[in-house]
């Protein structure tokens, strides 16, 4: 992650345990659902799950489009 960012590519880290992401030094962080299913939820029906995934990904896109100067969690 850091190596990709070091190469000048914008990275958004989508992850459940945001404290680890903060500790290891991600700059753009989007919280996910749960460790076994960060971008989904098996309790939802298929359509609702796709919508949920899209909501998280929308946040990820806006995180990438937002200038940041320090580690930022996009809630």
């Amino acid at each position: 992650m850091k190596e990709i960012e070091r190469a000048g590519i914008a990275v958004v880290h989508v992850c459940t345990i945001t404290p680890i992401s903060m500790t290891v030094g991600a700059n753009r962080i989007v919280p996910a659902i749960a460790i076994p299913y960060p971008l989904g939820d098996p309790k939802k029906d298929a359509g609702a799950e796709v919508t949920l995934r899209r909501e998280i990904m929308d946040k990820a896109l806006s995180a990438l489009a937002t200038p940041v100067s320090e580690q930022t969690i996009f809630e």
Partner: protein
């Protein structure tokens, strides 16, 4: 709460016609055990083997290790309450232990995280179960069984066998009897006014299939952080349903013989008061981690502990639970020591923990799980070597031409235990 534990020393296990304990030998009739296990329709076949200390034997893939214990002189209380026996508070009265014997469950792999026990050679130094006489139970599940079901069937079968064998010690006179007691809070201070009141926080792995722990039958991931009497743990109140990497999973045996509990009781009334025990979980949701660690800190404060030892189970995201517990407990003014292990890479030069916090200034480590070891060929394999490349800590083509296998310590049962069961450390 007061528990009397009678330890019956077992120096050998033998197959025979009878099931009994005599002269330090545990005699086992395989047919009795077979009947017990095959009553569960999910298990197609079962067989048994014995592995003794010093033998040229490798057991793999190992799921759980369980010590045979039984409650004595009571019809009410039973070992493994809420799971095998009815829910009834244990940790009181008398318990008999077949010390030196263990039930090892083994068989077709469920996930990635089963492990290896070597009874001799260099690998034996890293697992406590090279020193026990092991009755190995080898399972074959019914075809097309779901992993969750298979795991549950094996877990129950292992507990049944251990309880059955434990019962053989009911009438046997123990070699050693010890008494363990935790006094009510006010009496603690009255009895030992000058000693610090020390608590123990045990973190239990609760991350889903192959990563769960049960307390009185409750899946701990569904529970808030709570309190338990240390002697209840000795009676099997906490059991392992998990296979986090073999090296740092707490087997049921580890719970039954929790070394922090043992060492705190050892010091109780001398250098400290063992004032109480908190159990908490390691869940996959961030909100759960925040809530559970909030509760840990709150309970430490409510109990008025002067200090706590916090032990972890597993690694990776549970490092966050560990750091949250440590920081929040320190923040309410209770000093901590944490017990963890490390994943510092095969050469030891990488970051050891996934999460760190400056509050964790007193750390005990069970060592680097990534360190590589060569396990020489053994004369006999109980189970199968079929999975030694895919279990956690194994890797592709890790079997050498001479039959030895190369693994990370991660693959060895109990190698970097985070209850502090072993002497290994790292610097």
């Amino acid at each position: 709460m007061k528990l009397e534990v009678g330890y019956i020393n077992i120096t050998d296990i033998q197959f025979g016609n009878e099931c009994k304990v005599a002269g330090g030998t545990l005699h086992v009739n395989q047919d009795c055990l077979k009947e017990l296990i095959l009553s569960d329709a999910r298990i197609a076949e079962v067989s048994f083997d014995i592995a003794r200390p010093g033998e040229s034997v490798r057991i793999t893939p190992v799921k759980d290790v369980i010590e045979p214990r039984t409650k004595v002189g009571t019809d009410e209380m039973g070992i493994f309450p809420g799971i095998l026996n009815k829910v009834k508070t244990v940790g009181m009265g008398r318990t008999h232990v077949l010390k030196g014997a263990a039930v090892v469950t083994c068989g077709q792999i469920v996930g990635f995280q089963e492990g290896i026990i070597d009874m001799s050679g260099p690998g034996a130094d890293y697992t406590p179960f090279s020193a026990t006489n092991n009755l190995v139970v080898l399972f074959t599940p019914k075809a097309d069984i779901q992993p969750h079901d298979y795991e549950q069937a094996l877990r129950m079968a292992g507990l049944k066998v251990a309880a059955f064998l434990g019962d053989l010690g009911k009438e046997v006179t123990p070699d050693v009897v010890e008494t363990y007691e935790t006094l009510p809070i006010l009496e603690q201070k009255a009895k030992y006014p000058d000693l610090p009141r020390i608590g123990y926080v045990q973190m239990l792995q609760t991350q889903g299939l192959l990563h769960d722990t049960y307390v009185y039958g409750v899946d701990m991931k569904e529970s808030l952080t709570t309190m338990i009497n240390p002697t209840e743990v000795m009676d099997g109140a906490i059991i392992s349903g998990n296979c986090v990497s073999a090296c740092d999973k707490n087997t049921t045996y580890h719970h039954q013989n929790n070394p922090v509990i043992a060492d705190m009781f050892e010091e109780n009334g001398k250098s400290l008061i063992f004032a109480g025990m908190i159990i908490t979980n390691e869940n996959v949701f961030l909100m759960d981690k925040e809530r559970s660690s909030d509760w840990t800190a709150k309970l430490c404060k409510m109990m008025g502990f002067d200090g706590v030892v916090i032990t972890q189970e597993g690694f990776g995201n549970p490092d966050t639970d560990l750091m949250m517990n440590c920081k929040k407990v320190e923040d309410v003014g209770v000093p901590t020591v944490i017990v963890t292990d490390e994943y510092a890479g095969r050469d030891g030069t990488s970051q050891s923990l996934a999460d760190v916090d400056a509050a964790a200034n007193a750390v005990v480590t069970g060592g680097n799980a990534n360190e590589v070891i060569t396990l020489p060929k053994m004369d006999k394999v109980i189970g199968t070597l079929q999975y030694v490349d895919v279990i956690a800590g194994g890797f592709e083509n890790n079997t050498q031409p001479d039959g030895s296998i190369v693994v990370e310590l991660q693959a060895i049962i109990g190698a970097t235990n985070e209850l502090g069961f072993n002497k290994m450390s790292a610097r």
